[in-house]
């Protein structure tokens, strides 16, 4: 079951966070929606190595959740969390309904034993970095104060991605305490920058705490999934 969930989770993060283009997002009430759902189907087929009821079901549920979000929910943090939470829940449910889907697929016998673990780790890492990026952007929901803290939006996003990757690696590597060192290092970075304005600093603190919380949640969830493999 956990192998099926790992493969479908990777398919999900690829379809939502790696291969989805802004054209698909902008036209999500039109052609982009169909393209996105086709992408969800294609990534599920590729990751699970099969065209099956499980793949069709996971695609259909993705369609229903996305349509409900687009039509019913405003773009807020809670709607983003609800959307991703429902997607993950649906993947777990499909995994429970079709526990042998991975074993029935093309890859189970053709790839090394450790592959599902690698899939789960890759999916968790992408989710920690990329899904976290959007969650934090929606959470702070204020544009960067240009030049106020001597840092551009691109730098902030890059550092955020790196810190989530580091926290994720620390937890998966069994040295979760290292994430405190990373947090301390970043706090040191703020105070050392004299030019930082109060709003800029406040924004950076909020974003960093959210970033750490997101990375820790993604890492522990991934660790739990790997433990089930």
């Amino acid at each position: 079951m956990a192998e099926t969930i790992a493969a479908l989770f990777l398919a999900h993060v690829l379809a939502d966070y790696v291969l989805q283009t802004r054209w698909m997002v902008v036209t999500k009430r039109g052609a982009g929606f169909a393209a996105h759902i086709a992408l969800v189907f294609a990534t599920a087929v590729a990751c699970l190595g099969q065209i099956s009821v499980a793949v069709v079901l996971v695609t259909f549920v993705h369609l229903v959740i996305d349509a409900a979000k687009t039509i019913l929910m405003p773009d807020r943090l809670w709607s983003y969390l609800a959307d991703q939470g429902l997607h993950i829940l649906s993947i777990v449910a499909v995994g429970a309904l079709f526990p042998g889907a991975w074993q029935a697929g093309l890859w189970a016998d053709a790839v090394p034993q450790a592959t599902p673990e690698a899939l789960a780790m890759l999916a968790g890492l992408v989710f920690a970095i990329r899904a976290g990026h959007f969650a934090i952007a929606v959470y702070i929901a204020s544009p960067p104060v240009p030049g106020a803290d001597g840092m551009t939006a691109r730098h902030g996003a890059l550092i955020g991605g790196l810190e989530r990757a580091a926290v994720f690696a620390a937890v998966l590597g069994g040295v979760a305490a290292l994430s405190l060192v990373i947090l301390a290092a970043k706090a040191g970075l703020w105070w050392s920058r004299d030019g930082a304005s109060a709003p800029g600093r406040e924004r950076a603190v909020a974003a960093t705490l959210a970033s750490f919380a997101w990375a820790l949640a993604a890492a522990y969830a991934t660790r739990a999934l790997i433990a089930m493999l």
Binding site: V138, S142, A157
Partner: protein, 120 residues
């Protein structure tokens, strides 16, 4: 964490542009030359440019948004817009500000953009 000052009730969500200024049309055309590399419609027709304010001394302030917070071009788009407007004859100084208020929506696209993106 909003730093938006209190607005008077009834004040428009989007500040009006200096449509009567002689430079307005050329600044709009310059905005129409800027594209998000993943979207085949320029940022002006996409409705990302909220306000083009041109002062009497020809200093231009553009207030714009992006399709979503977290858009990966957030760090670059204001620079692209400034680079498009700055060389225009008569323009003195360009300032591009990002805002998420009000958030961009598909209803902000021009009819041409809708047509191009297959909505009409």
């Amino acid at each position: 964490m909003s730093q938006t000052p209190e607005m008077m009730e009834g004040a428009p969500l989007i500040r009006p542009s200096s449509t009567g200024h002689p430079l307005y049309d050329t600044v709009v055309e310059a905005c129409r030359s800027v594209y998000d590399p993943e979207i085949p419609v320029n940022i002006f027709d996409l409705g990302l440019v909220y306000t083009i304010d041109i002062a009497d001394d020809n200093a231009v302030t553009v207030i714009m948004t992006l399709t979503a917070p977290g858009c990966p071009v957030a760090g670059e788009m204001p620079g692209w817009v400034a680079d498009a407007i700055e060389p225009l004859e008569g323009v003195k100084h360009v300032d591009v500000e990002l805002t998420w208020d009000p958030p961009w929506g598909m209803d902000m696209m021009s009819d041409e953009a809708r047509l191009e993106l297959g909505f009409m």
